[in-house]
């Protein structure tokens, strides 16, 4: 059975239909990248999984529909595209926020909570940062701290919304490599949205194209990322270079020579 099963997911914001009957199944342990043009509804789709946006249709996790935020939070960890970084909050405290679904609203952090947070911080090479303020870190460090908070949740599904935005190439690679190694170690299921199609082809098993409020194609990177598909849904003219690690998408100038 699929770990995530989405069917007929429809979201209206104001008078505008953002998602119009999305169907998607994700297998346990799989990494799926959702791609699509700006405004296609990628973030809205992740928010529907989190239950933070009103929707119709069904979202099931292991065949059941979670209703309370805390039930979802124990299954789904979320790395938003632009996380809110609270002023003055220390890295250690920020990562401990990830333990919220495992303790009562009024409970203090248990030893287990602190150990899990410290473990994640160590794993992400952030142990030296625990007493630093999150707001004082560089973009790459901050992204790792946000990822650390999500991992401290110990959810089996991680939702990443444009995790590489605002990162240079080296840090993009670092973050995605880290997710990949954690996926292997812990059997995480990863649903990510990515703008960089070549990166989307390198990392993950499958690509789903979200366009016009629906999933229009899913499949392996080399099957989905064709010049024709990209032209149709992104309005871009590209050349695809086959590389052993997956297709490389090269934009060609739209101006005739």
């Amino acid at each position: 059975m699929s770990i995530i099963s989405i069917s007929g997911l429809t979201v209206d914001l104001g008078n505008q239909r953002i998602l119009d009957g999305v169907d998607l199944d994700v297998d346990a342990g799989e990494w799926i990248n959702v791609i699509g043009p700006n405004g296609a509804g990628k973030t809205t789709m992740l928010r529907s999984l989190l239950g933070t946006v009103e929707h119709t249709g069904t979202v099931e996790l292991d065949g059941t529909r979670p209703t309370k935020p805390i039930e979802r939070a124990r299954r789904l960890a979320y790395v938003p595209q632009s996380p809110v970084i609270p002023g003055g909050m220390l890295v250690g405290d920020y990562v401990l926020l990830g333990r919220t679904p495992h303790r009562g609203v009024f409970d203090r952090d248990s030893n287990t909570d602190c150990n899990v947070a410290m473990d994640v911080l160590t794993r992400l090479d952030l142990a030296a940062f625990t007493m630093r303020e999150v707001g004082s870190l560089s973009g790459g460090e901050r992204q790792r701290v946000v990822l650390a908070r999500a991992l401290a949740q110990q959810a089996d599904i991680v939702l990443l919304d444009e995790p590489t935005t605002a990162l240079d190439l080296g840090h993009q690679q670092e973050v995605l490599d880290l997710v990949e190694s954690l996926r292997r170690d812990r059997g995480l299921t990863v649903v990510a949205t990515l703008h960089d199609l070549t990166l989307a082809a390198r990392y993950g098993d499958r690509i789903a194209v979200l366009s016009g409020g629906r999933i229009v194609e899913t499949g392996s990177p080399s099957a989905v990322l064709t010049a024709a598909t990209i032209a149709e849904h992104f309005g871009a003219t590209v050349r695809i270079i086959d590389d052993p690690d997956g297709p490389v998408i090269v934009p060609t100038t739209g101006v005739p020579q």
Partner: protein, 356 residues
């Protein structure tokens, strides 16, 4: 991985924001010190040492002879002690309410009067004063009752109007602005129609920690306990709300429900404080910010220390209010701003923390 990982799980304890014993002791010392000084100084000066003896003597199992005359004991126990206790309760409630509002709305400018409490209480008090709703003292004094009622009406109106306009915190804040403007307009109209009451209303608005024995303290205690207790209980949830509603919900909380509980508890406390002491401004903003700058922004530290330092600050402000121009009294709202503002600028300039 670097050698930090070699240390293994659990060997290095995670260092996080906690209320350290030093900060807690500093807060308690401030409270006790402010209260003893507040009781020592006045038209009749009494030695702080003898005051401490006299109060300890009142405790069970302690026998101490202060040697004070019965008249001085009465000054301490029936006039000054209730006044410093009320000052503590009002200051503590206003600061903890301010800290709660700032956390719940994620807005550094939020104060306990954000949802129209000041305007509502002002209208209530103005009506009670101008319409001659009786002249009882203590429990039956109509002015605090009307102020309390007006403040609660304002909060209910703001919450109702805010929900009509959407469910964001911004719509709630804007509803508060609208409700406050409306109630202020109504209050101004009532006052204009009864201009002979102008002085009395104005004096009430500027605030005064005035007591007639212990009755105001008895009135205030349950609201202080309710507001401070609930906000304290939700201090960890307020830390989670700092990442915004969407992420807080993704972390398993129900942010709107938590905000409603915290804001209503804080409002109830602020309404009670306003009803016994008038519209004392500034405390709900300045004390929590000074605590953040000095001790850190985590609500686990901020909430308990706002209670202690807010209470101590108000006791000292009241002391200044009644001694600076003896035998007359300054309005306490004037004192809190006049001494509080320069102090806050000092804290702002010396702090290296970035808390917002």
């Amino acid at each position: 991985m670097t050698d930090t990982s070699a240390a293994g799980i659990g060997e290095e304890p995670l260092q996080v924001a906690r209320l350290g014993p030093g900060a807690l002791v500093a807060g308690l010392v401030a409270v006790v010190g402010a209260m003893v000084i507040g009781m020592a100084l006045g038209p009749v000066d009494i030695s702080p040492k003898l005051i401490v003896y006299e109060l300890l003597d009142d405790l069970p199992l302690i026998e101490l002879d202060s040697g004070l005359s019965a008249q001085r004991v009465a000054i301490i126990e029936q006039i000054r002690l209730p006044r410093v206790v009320l000052g503590f309760l009002v200051g503590a409630t206003l600061s903890v309410s301010g800290a709660a509002y700032q956390g719940a709305f994620r807005n550094p400018l939020a104060d306990p009067y954000l949802l129209g409490i000041a305007a509502g209480a002002g209208l209530g008090a103005t009506l009670a004063i101008t319409q001659d709703w009786g002249d009882g003292g203590g429990f039956t004094d109509p002015v605090p009752l009307a102020a309390f009622g007006g403040a609660l009406v304002a909060v209910v109106l703001s919450y109702t109007a805010g929900h009509i306009g959407g469910r964001s915190t911004a719509s709630l804040v804007l509803a508060g602005v609208a409700v406050a403007s409306f109630l202020t307009a109504a209050q101004t109209y009532v006052l204009q129609a009864n201009s002979d009451a102008f002085r009395e209303v104005y004096a009430w608005i500027l605030g005064r920690i005035a007591t007639s024995g212990w009755s105001e303290v008895v009135l205030m205690v349950p609201y202080f306990l309710l507001a401070a207790g609930i906000v304290f209980r939700y201090r960890r949830a307020l830390d989670v709300l700092a990442v915004g509603d969407e992420e807080a919900q993704a972390l398993g909380l129900e942010p709107r429900k938590i905000r409603a509980i915290v804001v209503l508890a804080a409002s109830l406390g602020a309404a009670a404080a306003v009803s016994v002491s008038g519209l004392i401004g500034f405390v709900g903003i300045i004390v929590p910010h000074a605590v953040r700058l000095a001790f850190g922004a985590s609500h686990r530290v901020l909430i308990p220390l706002s209670i202690l330092f807010g209470g101590a600050f108000m006791v000292l402000a009241d002391l200044a209010a009644r001694t600076v121009v003896e035998p007359a009294e300054l309005p306490i709202g004037v004192v809190t701003a006049f001494f509080g503002a320069p102090f806050f600028v000092l804290v702002l300039r010396t702090s290296r923390r970035s808390v917002w």
